[in-house]
Amino acid sequence: MGYGPTGRPGGSRPVSGRLVLYWLALYRRRRMLLALTIGMVAFETLIIVIARTIPPQDLFLGSVRQPPSAFRAFSGSGGEVSLASYPGLLGAGLVHPFWIAMQLTVVGSLGAAAVAADVEAGTIELLMVRPISRARLLTERTAALVTGSVLVTAAASAAIAVGVEITPRLREAVPLRGVAAAGVLGLGLALCIAGPVLAVSAAGRHRGQVIGATIMLGAVGFAVNFIAEAWSTVSVLRFVSPFHYYRPADALVSGSIPVGSLALLLGVGLAGVAAAAWLLARRDLAP
């Protein structure tokens, strides 16, 4: 951000700060974002390395028996792509609990930073006695969250893209367009969860409430999808889980973004942001 520790108060320099709240949120969490970005690259690189070590004939052996339907929850496919394939393996890396945990960390941390963390810390009092509308606060903080999610998702996609590009048999199975499509879909999932999380932050007083909501949405969402895939009696429940609409393995193979699923994920996210704006406009902002 544009405020280096100069040791000088800065005098009466012209007002020049733009998107101050946006930069403040990112600046305060820059180390966490850097760690998550590196972690994401390392994890997806590991997935690539694992995929590279499996010869194609072993994959085909593994696909002789169809895995249980619940495994779709882990393969990132609606059933069209087997876990025992290169796209399936890479897709599994994009629905792995580690990938989910890192995405949720970004959403939870920057979601809490939107409003609730400042309320809890008492710093909201310094910010909101200045000519900052509540809409501006939410807009800049939402933008910070989106930036964080884009960064982490892009890191994962870049790692996979490099792996695919340098491994001929992966390149044959997965088009680079598919990697990009899966990345966009991953971002859609993160933003789908971010919307309701922002609403909790806008109404909440403690960052713990926001982190809790993030974990609940992520973990419960994944669990519901898993149970719905495993147990036909409640299969209808899969439609309420965001993970049902997040099928990176299918995107990796097809090379195209499932527009309907992406629209639904983003729609939920936008509805959450709208709810956050409504709640924030009506609440008291004091520690």
Binding site: M1, G2, Y3, G4, P5, T6, G7, R8, P9, G10, G11, S12, P14, V15, S16, G17, V20, L21, L24, R28, A121, G122, T123, I124, E125, L126, L127, M128, V129, R130, P131, I132, S133, D284, L285, A286, P287
Partner: protein, 324 residues
């Protein structure tokens, strides 16, 4: 004169808990106005309504003729505010804070350097992370951020908390200068001497209600007199006829009384009939004066415990200032 701050029947409740109730107040342009009350009286709640952090449950608050919530964008550039419990971002330096908050204020900050110098915030201090600041240094930084843009209305919640006596002197000089420059200063405190020193008028609040608004000079005049009578060794204390309303306390053979100024002459005539060996009469301290004022002002004073709440100490749980 123009009212810069107008509170009309201002009420803020948090569920069943009353923050402030039916508060009416007017502060005129150029005034240094004290807002006095024990901890938990509703001072901070009132101020937060004035700066648009809290929306009133009933009544209205207007500052510079504007509604603090509806006209937030127009009003806040004209306000300088120091919160009662100043919280800063520990991972930013002092300089970063001043730049950040100045940018958010949306106005130039012509007084920043001067204020830093006068409040003894050196370049080295400003280059340090705020998490390493002492309470006093944070408070100094809070004062700079509140005043650096030379605001029309300055609202300070417990501003001298943590400041050393020398810096307090500077602070009072800044308040005086602001008033002379036509700025309006609203200063909340539970430190009576502070209000007496800085303010022309003072509002006293207790348990969310306005007790009185008076000129500081008038309150000073209403101050009780402390009378000390020394009796010979071995006097029978019980035999000394004094009124309970004079709050009699014994220290050895010395009897101490607090007597309202209207009553002091007849009381002294009576007391001088007693076999005292020495008599001393002096103005009571401000604390005692304000407590006496409370007792007079409250119609149900007799129903309350004789001991008034301690100024500057934590309030009982049932009087604690409620959060939203």
């Amino acid at each position: 004169m123009v009212a810069v701050i107008e509170l009309t029947a201002l009420t803020k409740r948090y569920g069943a808990t009353v923050g402030i109730e039916q508060l009416d107040l007017e502060v005129e342009a150029g005034e240094v106005f004290g807002f006095l009350g024990p901890n938990g009286a509703g001072k901070t709640t009132t101020i937060r309504c004035m700066v648009g952090l809290l929306s009133p449950t009933a009544g209205t608050a207007r500052v510079l003729g504007l509604d603090p919530i509806a006209d937030h964008a127009r009003l806040t550039p004209e306000i300088g505010y120091l919160p009662g419990e100043l919280r800063l971002y520990g991972e930013l330096t002092g300089a970063q804070h001043l730049a950040l908050l100045g940018d958010l204020q949306g106005r130039p900050t012509p007084r920043r350097d001067e204020l830093c110098e006068r409040l003894e915030l050196t370049g080295r201090d400003l280059g340090r992370l705020v998490r390493h600041y002492s309470h006093g240094m944070k408070q100094k930084l809070g004062l700079v951020q509140a005043l650096q843009h030379d605001p029309e209305v300055v609202i300070l919640d417990e501003p001298t908390e943590g400041l050393d006596p020398l810096v307090q002197e500077t602070f009072f000089a800044l308040v005086r200068e602001a008033s002379e420059a036509g700025r309006t200063v609203f200063l909340s405190s539970h430190v009576l001497a502070e209000v007496q020193r800085a303010c022309g008028r003072v509002a006293i609040v207790r348990a969310g209600r306005l007790v009185t608004v008076e000129a500081v000079a008038a309150l000073r005049e209403a101050r009780a007199r402390r009378v000390r009578l020394t009796f010979p060794d071995g006097s029978d204390h019980a035999a000394v006829p004094v009124e309970a309303r004079w709050s009699p306390t014994w220290s050895g053979d010395e009897l101490r009384l607090l007597i309202h100024p209207d009553e002091i002459v007849p009381a002294l005539r009576r007391l001088l009939q007693l076999p005292a060996t020495d008599v001393a009469v002096e103005e009571a301290g401000l604390d005692e004066a304000f407590l006496a004022f409370y007792r007079q002002a409250e119609p149900d004073a007799k129903a309350r415990p004789a001991k008034a709440p301690a100024w500057g100490t934590d309030p009982p749980a049932d009087q604690a200032e409620a959060g939203p």
